[in-house]
Amino acid sequence: MLVLSRHRDESIIIGDNIVVTIVDVRGDKVRLGIEAPTEIPVHRQEIYEAIKRENQRSAQLNTADVDELQ
């Protein structure tokens, strides 16, 4: 993993169109500003992973599993 040191208000650029800026640092919490093209989804990783797991579980369901809701 590439590790870079940055101060508040400094940025890194990924490719030529994604910019991540350190907006604020307080204790163990860092606030990031992310500018990316709208077609690139940006997620908090743990939320993305949870959504992914849930989608994959939902795709296992059959019509009989949800019939009772009709």
Binding site: I51, E54, S58, V66, L69
Partner: protein, 146 residues
């Protein structure tokens, strides 16, 4: 055109029925073309069926039919790729799931569709809604039948 589905057999759809998810869905990033299948206009449950993979389909429902106080609050940057011209074009569905036998709904990450441009995206609600909101308890139903 015809698409094959594991759950519903071969179905006829027109190109206009398809909904494009340019980023796919989390877990199904390569599935860009989907069809929203609803048996009847008043049905509470529909299916988001992949147009390319017959076995991939997700049961969905209108969240407000199950959780009346659910409000849609999504960050503008999350909705921007849909290119909405009017809020009337926006349809929100939530994906149904199953947890310990209960039927649940993912209210944290609903699916937003621009029905006019046929563009969709799974978005993230800004508030703390559950990924597994219980909409029907399994045991309660069984006891009633017994």
């Amino acid at each position: 055109m015809e698409i094959g589905t594991t759950r519903f057999g071969t179905i006829q759809i027109s190109v206009a029925d398809r909904v494009c998810f340019p980023a796919g869905l989390p877990g199904f990033e390569d599935c860009r073309d989907w069809v929203l299948l609803v048996e009847r206009p008043d049905a509470k449950v529909g299916w988001l069926q992949s147009a390319d993979w017959s076995e991939i389909a997700l049961p969905v429902g209108s969240p407000r039919k199950f959780v009346p106080d659910y409000d849609i609050r999504i960050e503008p940057h999350d909705l921007r790729p849909l290119g909405l011209e009017s809020p009337k074009d926006l349809q929100i569905v939530a994906i149904l799931g199953q947890l310990s036998g209960d039927l649940t709904m993912n209210l944290k990450a609903p699916v937003a569709i621009n029905m006019r441009r046929r563009l969709g995206r799974q978005v993230v609600h800004v508030d703390d809604w559950s990924i597994h909101q219980v909409v029907r308890q399994w045991t309660a139903q069984l006891r009633k039948i017994a």
